[in-house]
Structures are given as structure tokens and as C-alpha cells.
Symmetry: D2
């Protein structure tokens, strides 16, 4: 099957996430990266495109959207991997041209932008995929399927956490670009740790549990001196249907590299998963011994196997989970190109709904915390 | 050195905690159990005493306190291991006779009882030790010493959790005595999971961090049908000096046997400890690799070694940690018998202050939760 | 039930293993230590006895055996915790008086001594228990029961290892008493690491598998400069019935404190156990997910629960496993005092047979290694 | 930089390893797969090529070698991913045309073939890379660099093991193609588990330690009924310079998916690594606490970082380690195309030398085992 012609906005320099998207798009051989507006100036963009072997370079995403739409062999999809505040405008430019969008999260930096984008997605004749990449991990797919199948019984408790340690020191004052824009409200939006990683934890908790957060009580804090955005967030959650939970996101917890963790407990059993050891899923049917389910191993379900590439014991990692989002985006694009309706083509792929949920999550966190952790509905 | 003559109140039947106290009192050979009022009736008490090889059995703790005080070879100390609602009266009876008290936690079932006991302890010519046994674990001692020495820098975050799963099913309706009194407010007090295990997590967080909880916002819930007391509690904590934290206690989280866990993060490093693997302490100096410190191993400090019995790699467990409380109680008793003042004799042993802190913690949880998780000072 | 009157030979100074035996004898309250010949001189022995609160001190084990046998309230049993070369003579002295012997391993330092002791045990009117303490761990009991019940099917592979690191540096040249006698053939016998710890691994492999080693091919080596005994041993094993295995013992493997580990695989499943985390047993029925069985937890069998004291999640450790040997020795002693025959009273307790097996194991290792790892029958 | 034009021999059907090579070749975007002789018949090959989007399909590797060599835009390199017995002829066909070869391991199925291939590599004007992919893991690179830098001091002990469980049942009798050829001497060669996975363990032990195995004593066995090749191998190793070790490979150890593990101990420290958790490396400087070094984390060295793609805490896996071999092969190919000599261009890449070492290892194992585990030099 022919590869999908892909463009990219952002990701030009040493940006971590741009490189991740490129590898992810290659792993399953469904995309061919042929165009880019990779940096803030035409010169830098061209240099990056050349270094990466990308055929066509543009000075801006606007230019790229128009030019590519005009070509017979123009891009069919675009990846948007800029800082958050650029997501909305870039996505809208491509959606307006009927070019499918694969956008990094969180959705946008402001709720206003998010709502405009939501409208644009509704109006567009193209798909909008948001790379909540952790949903691509096989054992997360299995966990979701197990919850859905009732293996845990009615859910009671959802504990999500996402601690990191990289902002323990004030790296934003030491010239680290990543740290600069992550701690700058004008580029990141109102959420610090909650926008960058808390949204992942929230998204994953909802993805696996199948539940929406009804309200939350959040205590956000910036421990780093002079930091405008939270670098640590504690919150309690109430889910629709009565489950309760907690969520902790932090960028100042030494010893935690990228320690996203999800634990879900129901009347009949519990599940535990940790992103840093993603090939394992612990399952305890209540009253029985814990079982260590492994990706593509003896306890792997169809949901996990469908998104596994290699046998159990041969660890897949972050890039493969990310690649699954790209692989499924390719399926979805080909499906709608073949006439399928957009909703059914998306399947479990995170899109505008997950993005808006994330924006409401960030907003609720900020509002709650400003009200001294008052319960705030999403 | 002569063994301390010990009595026991409660612990007569198949009670879990009575047996634990007896083993703990024997491990370091500092006590000799010679008297007991082990059960609710003289007959049962006598049968239990006989089975256990205890010389003198009494029909009630009142009788025992008087009779033993009158003997030249009467007990020097007593262990109180009854359900919570009996603690206060029993402790007061022995304290009034100058007999040292080693009492299980939580302090009492009501704040009224607690305040009366606090006064009794202040007035007494005897020590009052509360068996917050988890403080006896060597690596907890080391963690405390490391925090105190500044190895973590100024503290920022304290994450405590204590999930269990034994009340996932309604065992209190199935005749399990432990489950019956633990879920009965008249015997346990106002706290369910927070009284039984949340107090341990709270105590440990404070013991290691050296900080007091200033206020908390708690969301208590009983998932078990018809349960009068919480079986799950989520809360956010604010510590004096600015650190923040979370605490989760649960008895309905399948796959968690006794999963007390403490994580503390400061400006310069982090510590992580788990009760189920107590011989390990993870220490990360910020920016360096994690180190696995082991009890009596290469990274063990004087604080840990002082309460270790055997070499690293030879695991000590729950009973040894508990025994350390008894061993230090023996030291303290001999010290005050030798003229030391009570405060200095206690050292780091948990006593009435820790007990009152625990009662205030339970009360604050209940008050906060009744106010929809309003911040409540302790 | 009255406590058994116990004596002790050796264990007087800062000896690690003497203290372990004393704690182990107390944990289940079945013994009362009333007499000792704790050190090499009457003066040192008396000082140690006084410090430990032991009523009667003797200048030698010979004197003690005679004197105690002559008393109406003399000791019923004796613990022998000296260096290896003293075991035989001491044990024989007490056995000759009908006093039950609980002896540390390995059996003796020479095969000649071992054979004499074997005869003495056969002739005696008393029990001989050898403290292969690792057989007392609950999950080891469960593993043995599972193998016996056929849960693994016919056994194929037995992997045993026991690495330590304490002799990585030449501590025997730095005045450490433990290191001195452990590396001295005249006190330890012909085996270095194989005698001290390899015998434990061998014993455990046989205890759990229910198989005997038919022959072995061993490569012993002393890495420490000038060391007369092996500090590292590699060997391949052939078991009766066709199973094969490996055994590694080492005292020079940095990062290993006391890392005894056993893995057994059969046609239908596998078991894995590690001494440093003794409350866990991994069980994989072939083709199903791994299960984490926990002591007194959901997957614990009757065999494990029978020797557990406290609930799952409350870790028991090395001392409790050791105490189980003492507890079962007490049962056995009372049984034979009540008329039971010695063999049935012993149950699964390790005794002279296990001791002779260990001696033959050491001998075979030394012989094989001297023959350049030639296969040698046991 | 332009991508290298790549061909592939084998890998046409549901073959596990062919798909792995293709993904590995894409991850770092250095290759473009343009030609293939993917299956045993022209029809099957063409169908596979079409399904994979490969431009040119050939009926045999001989045809492909000639035709591609004749094209101006012919392949520059070829991946050989057939069963073992085809490696030699296929590799020679391409080498003879000056086409670089990337070949799966083990080198060949017979020593005769291996020697012919060795000569062909020596004579060729092209590179020969053998995909001992586990050498591509970042923490393996770090381990090697640490040993080389002397962090462990003089090496004493090397413990390697590679247990799997997939042949516990006789899958070769149930139609599984993988199991059929792996257990067939005519296609696999004289080694069963030792050829398939033992060679990996041997290679890795040598790669990290920097030592060669001087001699070994091996006990090979087939537990599966009627199996002609070993499915379990135990052996003892003697390394040049005096280090000693063990190696265990097994395909019949239930509960082990792909549990390659390496432990190395020297006079000053120890290292431990497990393939199933490849982002971690345990390092113990003797007398200090264990340190958990993480890929691209605080303790990662330049050697690990050079082959890492994403930050610590974002797990890389098997495919990324494999991709590193491809990425470095691309570097080497471009280097020799630019005039570099072949030896320096190879760097640490495994090639014909590693392949011959592997063949000698297999031969020595078979010879030793046939001689009842006699010491056999490599």
C-alpha cells in the first residue's frame, strides 16, 4: 500500500518531540515525510529540511498549507510539533485545505484557541489526531479492554501520577530551550506540569477507565523560585459513576525520570501499569495472586497483540507506542479517503474530544487551585 | 541485665496484633511476659494465659493493675492490644499505678478519651509508648536521619500511601472479627481506613520528614455497601514550612496487601521506601543515579545499623521493626528507673504526642470530608 | 506447654550466627536458654553468659554435657554454633548424654569427623537437627509442596546460585574473625565458599526439588590472593531422574549481599525464589502469565501458611525462617519425649542425612575440581 | 544525506526476524529497501515484495545479486535474514559483487561454510556485518565502556544466561515454522539453543568483558522428546587472563520469555544487565551502594548516550537496539565508500570475527558435550 505523504510543522532543531514524531512515522512504514516548515525562519527551516532529507521546505506553515494543497502530489497529512501556542493556527491552516492533522498535545495554549480549533475540526473535511501517545502502549490497550470487559467489576479508585525531576533545578534560567517555553505561560498556556504531563495522566486515566472526570480539587504550586507556572500539582478526582481518584504531576521530584503510572481498582480486581516498564501489566483478580501480564506474552489479550510488533520478552518502548498512533492514523486516513465516516475511522485514536477534555482539565485545575482547591467541574 | 516484667491487656484469642506484640517483646530478650488480662471474660483470659504459658491471669485490666502494683515482683510495664475503644481506660488504670504502658495505635476511639489520656500521661510517673511500629524499621530510621542531615535539602513534596485490599469484599458481614470491629464506629472511632492505617501513613510521613501537617483537604468514602466508616480516603496535605503532599489510605484496592509507601522529595534529592520491601531505601541525589541503600549494607547509616540485628542481605521484617519499639521501650524504662527524665528517655519513641497528632489527624480528616474536602487545620 | 531447656556451645563474642540462633530460639517461645559454654576460655564464657543473662556457664562443652546431664533440671537440647571443626566433638558429647543437638552447618570440617558423627547420631537416644535454615522460609516450603504435588510436571532444570561479595577484599588479612576462620582449612574444612554457602544452595535445591544430585563437575577457584580455599565455585549438576542444573557460589561478586536464588523448571511450569525477597514466589504454569505468590497471601498454600506468623504484606525475614527450624525442633523433641520415633518426629527438618549429603557435596566439589572438573558422583 | 539502497534475502512470510530487520533499517532513516528475494519461490517473493511496497522482486538471491550489481541504482547493501544454512551462499553472492552484507546470526550452519565465508569476506571489497543486535543496546555499550575504563578492576567472573520457554512444548510437531527449522540440524546447524541464543549470550559476554573464552566445558541436552538438537545447555567458561564464568541457554524454562542476562564482576565492582529491562544497568562499586544507571539518565555515559534517541525514562527497546546496528552499518558503509579502510569503519560493529567466534563457540560446545563436558578450547 502506498505511503501517506506527510509534512511537518516545527521540529527543526534539536527539539525532542519533532524527532520522536519522525521516528514514529517511519516505524510501520506508512508515511513518507516530504515537506516541512520546520523552524521559525525560512533559512533555518531549509537547513533542517536538508539535513533530514526532506524534499520541500517552506518558510511558514501558511505557505506550506497553500502550496501543498495546490500540488497533485502534495502532502496528505501534516504533523504539528511546535510549542503549544502555535498548534491552533497551524492546525486550522491545514484543516482548511483538507489536509489531515496529527498534532502534539496539549491541544492549544488557551481555551479560546481550543474552541476555535474545535470548530475548525468540526467544519473540516479532514481528520484531527492528537498524539496522546501513551494510549498507544499495548498494555494500556489491554488494560482498557479488560476494564471494558468487566474484569475489574465496577470501578472504585483511579490513582494516576506523573512525576519527573528535570525542573528540580531552574534550568529555564540556564538557557535550556525546552525549560524556557515549558515554564512560559505565553507559550505553554495556563498549565505548567499539569499542561505538559498532567494532561497525559488525565487522558490515560480516562482512556483506560472509560470514565470522565466530573470534578476535581487541585492544589497547584511552583516550587521553583520565580516560576510562573505550576511545577507540582496535587489533586483529588471524582469520576462520573462514583469512582474517586488522585492525580499527581510533578517536575521537581528527584529520582523520577518519566514516571507516569496508573492504578485502577474495582470491586473485583486491580490493574497497575508503569510507563517506564511498559511491557508489563499487573493484574490482580481479587482474592487471587497477582499476575504479571506481558506484551505479546502468555496473558496478552487481542487488544495488546493487535498493536505489538515483536514477541514477548523483546521489549517495545516509547517509540513503538508512539508509532501505533501514527499507524492507526494512517489506517484512519486511508479509511476516510476510501469513504468511511470520520468518527468510525478514528476508532480509539485520541482526537479533538480528548484535546478539549485536556483543555477543560487544565482550566479546572487552575480554577480550582485559585479557589484554594475548591471542587470544580470539568 | 534483668528482663522487664510485662503484662498484657487483650490479645487473648486469635487476635493478630496481640501475637505480634508478644513476639516483638521476645526478639531482643528484654521482657518477660508474666501477667495478662487477655480476654473479655476471666475464663477466656485464663485459658489463653495457660495456653501461652503466662503465669498470672486476671479477669479485668482494673483488677490486674491493682494486683500487680501491690506485688513486689509485679509487672513493670503493660502492653495494651485491645480494640481502640478500650485503650484509654486501660492505659489510665496502669499509669495511675506507675506501671509503664506500651499501647497499640490509634491512641483511642474518641478525642474526649484521648484528651483524658493525655492528661493522665502528663500526670503519671510512668512512660507511655504508642506502637507506631513502622518507625522501628531500620531504613525508616535512616531516611529520617538523612532528611535531618539535609541530604535532601529543603523538603518540597511528601507522598504517603497505605493501600490494602482485605475489605474489598464485605468481610464484616461474614463473621470475621477483625473486620467487624474495624468497621464499627463504636469500637474503632470516627476513622475507618484513616484510623487503622491512615494514621500510620501520617505518622510515618511526619516521623521521616520531621514536619507537621498544618492542614489537609480530605475526601473520605465508604465503597463497601452499608459501611459506616471510610474504607478509602484521599487527601492533600500542607506541611508547616511549605512542603505539600498527598496521602491515600484504602482497604479496597485489590492487589495491595499492606502497601505502605513513603516518598519524600527536596530541593537536592529524593527518598522512596516501601514497607513490603523494607530492607531497601532508594536515594537519588538530584542529578545522580539512584542508589539502592540496604539495611546493614554498604550505604547503611549509623541510624539504620543501630536498630539492625543481622547483616545486609539477610532480610529483617515486620516483627523486627516492631521489636525495635519494644527494645527501645526497654531502654527507656530502665533509664527512667535509673533516674532519667521521661522526655529524654523516650528518644525517638512514639508516645502521647504522636498519639494526639494521630487523633487530630483523624478528626481533621472527618471534619474536612464532611465539609466537602475543605482545608482543615490539625 | 513448658519451654525446652536449652544450652549453647559457641556464640559467645560478636559471633554473628550465635546471636541468630538465640533470637531464633526465642521467637516462638519454645525454648529457654539456661546454660552455655560460649567461648574458648572459662572466663570469656562466663562474661558472655552474664551479659546474655544465661544462668549457668561452663568452661568447656565436655564439662557442660556432663554437668547438665547430671541435673534434674539440666538442658534438654543444645545449640552448637562454633566454627565447623568443633561441631563433631561437641555434638557427640551431648548426644552421648541423650541431649538433643541443634547444630549449625556444614556438618563438620572433615569427612572423617562426619562419619563418626553419623555413627553417633545413629547410636544416640536423641535428635540431631542441622540448621539448614533456608528450608524454614514459608515460600520454600510452598515451592517444595508444589513440586511434590506435580505443579511443575517432571523436573528438567534446577538453577541454584548463592553469590556474596564480602570477601572481594582480603578481609582475612585485616583482622576480621569471620573472614579468618572461613578462609582457614583447619577450621572450615576443604570447602571455602562451597562449604559456607554452596552447601546451602545444594541443600535448598534438593529440598525443593525432592531430587538428589547424582554427579557434578566443579570448577573451584580462589580469586583472593593467597587464599587456600575457594572463594568462587562454578559447577554443573546431574540429578537422579535426569534433571540437570548449575550451581554458583561466590564470595567475591560485588553487589551481592546474600543473594541465594533458586529456579526450578519442569515440563509444565517454573518456580523462582530469591532469599533477599523471601516473601515472594514466582510461579509460571507453562503458557500462562507469571503469578506472584506471597507468603500468607492469596496464593499461599497450606505448607507456607503453616510456618507463617503474620498476614501477607507484613514481611517475615531471615530470623523467622530460622525460628521455624527451632519451632519444629521443639515439636520434634516433645514428640520423641512423648514416645514418637525419631524419624517421624523429624518430619522435613534437616538432620544428619542432609548433613552427610552436604559433606559429600563438598567432597565431590573438591575432588571434581582437582580433576579439572571431571564428573564426580556424590 | 542520501539513504542507502538496501535489498533483502529472506523475510518474506510471517518470519519474525525479517520484519525486525526492516523496522530496524527504517528507524534512523538511513536505508531505503528497494529490492528483495524474500521467499523460496519467485511467486511468493513477488507477493511479499508487493505487500511490503518493495520495488524490485527476484526469484533467487543469485539472480538478485547479479541484476542489482548491474544497475546504476542497484542496491548498495543487502540484509540476509534466511534460516542459518542459507547465510553463507547468499552472503558470498553479494560480497562477490561488492555489495555490503548485513547478515543475521549465527554465521552459518556448518564450520565449513563459515570458513568459506570468512575467506570471502577477506577477499571482498565490501563490509560484512553480523547482527548481534544485543550489542546495540545503550546500556550494553555503557557496560563495555565501563569495563574498558577499569571501573570494575581486573575481571574475575562472567555469568551469562539466556533462558526462554517457547520450546517447552514440542511446537515443532505442531506446525510452527520457527520451531521446525530451529530444531532441524540441516537448517540450523549443530547447535540448538546454543546456536540460536547461546551465541548471543557468548557474544555479549565477550563484547562487554573485552575477553575471549579460552575453553569451556559444556553439558548439552535435549529435553524435548525426539529433539535432535539441544534445547538446554549448561557450561562453565574459562576466559583468557583468568576470569571464569558460566553460561546457560535454554528454550525449555517456563516463565522466561527472552531472559538474556549478563553479570560481570571484577576486583573493584560489579555490573548486572537484563535484556527484558534494557534501559537499566546496575553498577556496584565494591563497598558502596548499588546504583541504578538509566539510559540517557543521570548516570549514562557518552557510550550510552551516543546510541540513545530519546530522554531517560522514555524506554527504548529491542527494535532501537537493533536499529543501532543498522545505523552504524550505514555509517560504516558511507565511510568505506568515502575511502576509509574496512577495519576502522567497522568500529565496534560485530562482523566476521564475531561470527567465527560464534561458530567456534558452537563447535566447542558440541565437542565438549560429546566428550562428557571435557574442557575444550575455542
Amino acid at each position: 500500500m502506498a505511503r501517506i505523504r506527510l509534512g511537518m510543522v516545527g521540529g527543526g532543531n534539536d527539539a525532542f518531540i519533532g524527532g520522536v514524531h519522525r521516528i514514529a512515522s517511519r516505524i510501520d512504514d506508512r508515511f513518507e515525510l516530504v515537506a516541512g516548515a520546520l523552524s521559525s525562519t525560512p533559512e533555518k527551516s531549509a537547513a533542517s529540511a536538508k539535513a533530514l532529507g526532506i524534499a520541500r521546505s517552506y518558510g511558514s506553515f501558511e505557505e506550506m498549507a497553500q502550496a501543498e494543497a495546490a500540488r497533485a502530489d502534495g502532502i496528505e497529512a501534516v504533523s504539528i510539533v511546535t510549542p503549544n501556542h502555535v498548534h491552533a493556527a497551524a492546525a486550522q491552516a491545514f484543516l482548511a485545505q483538507g489536509i489531515h492533522v496529527i498534532c502534539d498535545k496539549p491541544l492549544t495554549s488557551t481555551m479560546e484557541d481550543a474552541e476555535a480549533l474545535e470548530q475548525a475540526v468540526a467544519d473540516a473535511d479532514a481528520l484531527f489526531v492528537l498524539t496522546h501517545n501513551y494510549t498507544g502502549y499495548p498494555m494500556i490497550r489491554q488494560a482498557r479492554a479488560m476494564v471494558e470487559a468487566g474484569d475489574l467489576g465496577k470501578l472504585r479508585i483511579v490513582q494516576a501520577e506523573y512525576p519527573q525531576d528535570w525542573l528540580t533545578s531552574p534550568l529555564e534560567n540556564e538557557g535550556l530551550k525546552q525549560a524556557e517555553w515549558r515554564t512560559d505561560p505565553s507559550r505553554s498556556g495556563a498549565g505548567g506540569s499539569i499542561g505538559d504531563i498532567g494532561t497525559h495522566a488525565h487522558n490515560l486515566a480516562c482512556f483506560v477507565s472509560g470514565l470522565r472526570v466530573e470534578s476535581l480539587a487541585a492544589d497547584l504550586h511552583a516550587f521553583g523560585a520565580g516560576r510562573a507556572l505550576d511545577d507540582n500539582a496535587h489533586m483529588m478526582l471524582r469520576f462520573e459513576g462514583g469512582a474517586r481518584g488522585m492525580l499527581w504531576s510533578s517536575q521537581v521530584a528527584p529520582g523520577n525520570e518519566n514516571a507516569l503510572k496508573l492504578r485502577i481498582y474495582g470491586e473485583n480486581g486491580g490493574l497497575e501499569w508503569s510507563q517506564e516498564d511498559p511491557n508489563y501489566l499487573w493484574f490482580t483478580p481479587h482474592g487471587e495472586p497477582k499476575r504479571l501480564l506481558t506484551r505479546n506474552g502468555a496473558g496478552a489479550s487481542a487488544a495488546a497483540q493487535a498493536v505489538s510488533r515483536i514477541p514477548g520478552g523483546h521489549p517495545e518502548g516509547y517509540l513503538e507506542g508512539f508509532a501505533t498512533i501514527y499507524n492507526e492514523a494512517a489506517d484512519a486516513i486511508r479509511a476516510v479517503q476510501g469513504g468511511a465516516d470520520r468518527a468510525s475511522a478514528m476508532g480509539v485514536l485520541p482526537g479533538i474530544t480528548a484535546g478539549m477534555d485536556g483543555m477543560r482539565f487544565i482550566n479546572a485545575c487552575v480554577t480550582s487551585s485559585a479557589g484554594n482547591a475548591a471542587w470544580t467541574t470539568l
